[in-house]
């Protein structure tokens, strides 16, 4: 250890720690075993005086590495913020006293637990260094917004309002997108508070379209540069230093630099020709998009049917046409807002064609999400729109108008309905570029053994399917030209925690390219994405990470000499942050990196590490747990818990009084993806009896905060069984679980289950 490192420990006796544990012994553990050069106790470390004590030790005594033994690292984060030193924390409150019973019998094991956590924290901090920003870049206050519809315009306006400059790129010759074509909009508001049920109460109605005002605001803003008839033909770089080629239809190209990007490329209309059975060739059967044009044509007057210009006196809306269906050529998902649209359009008829105009909405399941939702539906009922639950089998025609044949699902009988006009509720198709991971995703659907064999076939299929899809961003990334898809062509996003986040750092998706939504939702979405884009640009400027490790200044470093060029890191990085240099060594792209450590966990020769998180900083924690010998009957269970969900769940479990096994030693990891196989083999070799790994849910409905970290970990751990067998150990000693932040009862139970396994298979033979 270099001489300029100075280690100081602090033990808090507050929050009951001092009553339950022998603080003197903890202090001794820190100095004797943990080799802290100093260690002091304080009765409430998080108060002003306690924090000052730490501050003085840093400022006056020159401490460079501090170990705080107090509450969970997730508590008192603001009080214990010392960015100028390396810091580790021993979780004595949630991790020990709150998760152990306060009984005489438990006292000994509780103290052992606390001593271990102190040893671990001391070992960890010894292998940490204070991260410093790379200084690679500065703040770039320009944001690129791709797509000039409501979403793109809102993102541009919000970004401009926050003082950042925007370049807004629109493929067509006009701003406004689809929304500019709508006759009226779905209302934004619910009924006023206190409006009860009733047939004559004031309920929200369709409102005038104000997209024109939005266009004017964009044009008037001196912070927004609009590029019409333009596309983005090349995007390279990383957050804080993107470079984009904006090419006009006529071929001239301008290159601009950006701090971050918002992709708001919107949606395409579903092609109804696949729905011949619904009479899509009949002139009086129109799509919901076409109806808006008819309504616009009518102005305030009655809407006329296309075949002969007759005023419509009866209209039937066929909901969910070709949506949420497994049939060939249909959409496998539901657009969600089609019912709101139909209510809105039915009200056009009530308003313009007279109260007597028969409007029937044939639904299968009626959904009215959004602010006005249920009240808007009531509004439809109030105006005598007829809602009928039925499954349409066919739309036939004889002369003008059409006949809708359906099964009435309430009355369970076949019914026919004649109408002047039939409107099909068609779904929204995302306007995204080709999926860079289409091949990987398709392969993952296959059993492990078949993947290699099917590779060529899958590649061919994917190539054929994506040949007609235009790229939106034309990313100059090793990992493909566009944003990865989540499902059904919608761009990736962590739908629970970080809705706008994509797997390409600094690029945010908003609006219907992310999921189907209406104008109001798209505006909310755009605002969120704009704020994220600004945050990404600012963070990149400071050299710190984007979510979820916002503020983390460390970034992966690797020892080139040791690297075998196996490319596991390049392939497994969920965020495409790693490129290759000319000599085919990995090249880490700091500001694209989200600091998950998946590359670190992937590297077979362990050459990747962070200043504050490395193979050693965790490996040493593992090694510094006291392993009692076999006859002590005190097994040790290593718990590697993801800091995003599993670790908070364990903290929460302790807070709510759940017990956690006295044999467990919990180490938080950034992501299960960062778990190195060497930690597993080392801990097995040093006598742990069991290992419990807890990561986030993986797969299609993933909740992993780093998208693919837990998937990668699961793939790697599939091979652990063999390793254990070569050591003559039972494979059940190592388990991987998917844990959600709400699993506060389950998480401690999973650890308890390992206790039972150990009881069954016996203690590890590797204890010394």
């Amino acid at each position: 250890m270099a001489d300029d490192k100075k280690f100081a420990g602090f033990v808090c006796t507050g929050c009951g720690i001092g009553d339950r544990l022998d603080a003197g012994q903890l202090e001794m553990t820190a100095t004797r075993d943990g080799k802290m050069q100093s260690c002091v106790q304080h009765e409430m470390l998080c108060n002003k005086e306690g924090v000052q004590l730490i501050r003085d030790t840093i400022d006056n005594d020159g401490a460079t590495h501090i170990m705080i033994a107090a509450c969970s690292r997730r508590a008192k984060v603001e009080a214990f913020s010392f960015p100028d030193v390396a810091m580790s924390r021993a979780n004595l409150r949630e991790g020990v006293i709150w998760s152990r019973p306060d009984t005489d019998e438990a006292r000994e094991t509780t103290q052992e637990m606390a001593d271990d956590y102190i040893r671990m924290a001391c070992a960890e901090v010894k292998f940490m260094t204070k991260p410093t920003p790379s200084g690679e870049q500065e703040l770039n206050k320009n944001i690129l917004v791709v797509g000039g519809g409501v979403t793109g315009m809102t993102a541009a306006l919000e970004t401009a309002a926050a003082g950042f400059k925007v370049h807004l790129v629109e493929k067509t010759g006009a701003l406004g997108g689809w929304a500019a074509k709508w006759h009226k909009r779905i209302p934004y508001r619910a009924a006023a508070a206190g409006v009860s049920n009733g047939t004559n109460v004031d309920l929200p109605l369709p409102i005038d379209n104000n997209v024109g005002e939005m266009i004017a605001a964009v044009e008037a803003s001196d912070k927004i540069t609009v590029h019409l008839n333009s596309t983005v033909t090349k995007t390279s770089g990383a957050p804080g230093r993107f470079s984009a080629d904006i090419t006009t239809e006529s071929g001239s190209t301008a290159t601009e630099n950006f701090g971050a990007i918002v992709q708001a490329s919107g949606w395409k209309a579903f092609d109804p020709s696949a729905l011949a059975y619904l009479g899509s060739s009949n002139a009086d059967v129109v799509t919901n998009v076409e109806l808006e044009a008819l309504a616009n044509e009518a102005g305030d007057g009655p809407i006329k049917r296309p075949s002969d210009g007759k005023e419509v006196k009866s209209v039937v809306f066929v909901q969910n046409a070709g949506q949420a269906s497994k049939e060939e050529g249909h959409l496998p998902y539901h657009s969600g807002i089609g019912d709101l649209i139909s209510i809105k359009q039915a009200l056009y008829f009530k308003d313009q064609n007279g109260k007597d105009c028969d409007t029937t909405i044939l639904f299968d399941n009626l959904r009215t999400p959004g602010a006005a939702g249920e009240d808007f539906y009531r509004s439809g009922q109030q105006q005598m729109v007829i809602f009928s639950k039925g499954k349409v089998s066919e739309v036939t025609s004889s002369g003008s108008g059409a006949t809708v044949n359906f099964k009435d699902l309430i009355l369970n009988e076949d019914v026919k309905l004649d109408a002047d006009l039939v409107v099909l509720d068609l779904g929204m198709v995302p306007n995204s570029g080709p999926n860079p991971y289409a091949v990987t995703d398709a392969l993952e659907q296959l059993p492990y053994e078949e993947r290699d064999k099917k590779l060529a076939e899958v590649e061919k299929q994917v190539a054929e399917a994506s040949v007609s899809i235009e790229s939106i961003l034309n990313l100059d990334y090793r990992q493909g030209t566009d944003l990865p898809h989540l499902v059904n062509g919608f761009t990736d996003s962590h739908f629970i925690c970080f809705p706008y986040e994509t797997r390409r750092s600094g690029i945010y998706a908003a609006g219907p390219v992310r999921r189907p939504m209406d104008i109001k939702q798209a505006q909310d979405d755009a605002t969120g994405a704009a704020m994220k884009a600004i945050q990404a640009a600012v963070n990149a400027g400071q050299g710190s990470a984007a979510h979820p490790r916002v503020g983390d200044l460390s970034y992966p470093k690797f020892r080139k000499e040791g690297c075998t060029q196996c490319k596991r890191c390049t392939v497994e990085c969920p965020f495409g942050a790693i490129n290759e240099d000319e000599q085919r060594y990995p090249m880490f792209n700091e500001s694209r990196c989200r600091r998950c450590g998946t590359c670190m966990g992937a590297c077979p020769v362990r050459v990747i590490s962070f200043e504050n998180y490395s193979i050693d900083s965790v490996g040493q924690q593992i090694k510094n747990v006291d392993i009692p010998d076999e006859f002590d009957e005190k097994p040790r269970i290593l718990v590697l818990a993801c800091e995003n969900d599993a670790y908070p769940a364990l903290d929460q479990a302790a807070m709510s009084g759940q017990e956690i096994s006295a044999w467990a030693r919990v180490i938080p990891v950034r992501c299960l993806g960062s778990v190195s196989l060497s930690w597993i083999t080392d801990s097995m070799n040093s006598g742990y009896d069991g290992i419990v790994m807890m990561g986030c849910q993986r797969g299609k409905d993933y909740q992993c905060h780093f998208v693919r970290g837990s998937t990668m970990a699961a793939e790697r751990m599939m091979k652990v069984g063999d390793t254990l067998q070569t050591l003559n150990l039972e494979p059940e000693r190592v388990v991987v679980h998917e844990v959600a932040i709400t699993d506060i009862e389950r998480a401690p139970r999973l650890i308890k289950e390992m206790e039972e396994v150990i009881e069954k298979v016996g203690m590890s033979p590797f204890k010394f």
């Binding site: 009860s196 049920n197 047939t199 009866s314 007597d356 028969d358 539906y377 009531r378 009922q381 109030q382 005598m384 007829i386 809602f387 009928s388 639950k389 009435d408 309430i410 009355l411 019914v415």
Partner: protein
Amino acid sequence: MSDMNTAMVEKYRNSFLKEVEANVEEGEWVKMCMQCGVCSGSCPLGPHWAHPPQEIFMMIRAGKREEVLASDSMWMCTSCYNCIVRCPRELPITHIMHGLATYAKKLGLVPKGQATAEFSQIFWNNMMKKGRVNELKLGLSLYFKDGFGQGIKNAMANQKLGMNMMKAKRMSAAEFFGGHGIKDVSGLQKMIKKAEEIEAAKLEANK
């Protein structure tokens, strides 16, 4: 088909929902039903009728005029009010049921021999005479509604009940001869007439 019925079919050719709204007491609420089915689930007699309220409301919206008006479903309502209490949309379901029954009666569409309808008529006639219900006569008219022979049979079967009621002074044989009424029968009849006028005016206003 009664004349009124023919007229109504003509008038509301397109929308039975509109007809209900205009002619049935509280009928304007039917369109507010969201088909959740809570009413049908709450109805103690639900499984025993042809169409529970949710279905009746759907049928009205689907334009099934004949099936609704000639149905005996609304006659099965016991006025327990469970449905009203539970309907999330606060539909006055019980009242709509009675409104539908009344309307069907007006149009002459009540199924023949519908027991509730017959009882109601007997009850009404009985009550209107003296302003109070003459239990003895009510019982007798019920027994004999299907003819003399059947009446005797019914009376024999319920003999014990009748005797007990007499003993408990709940029924008096003297009532057979005229029976006693309220003080101001004509006043009551005026009141009822007024109520009918109010109802008619209300329905007129719906049109």
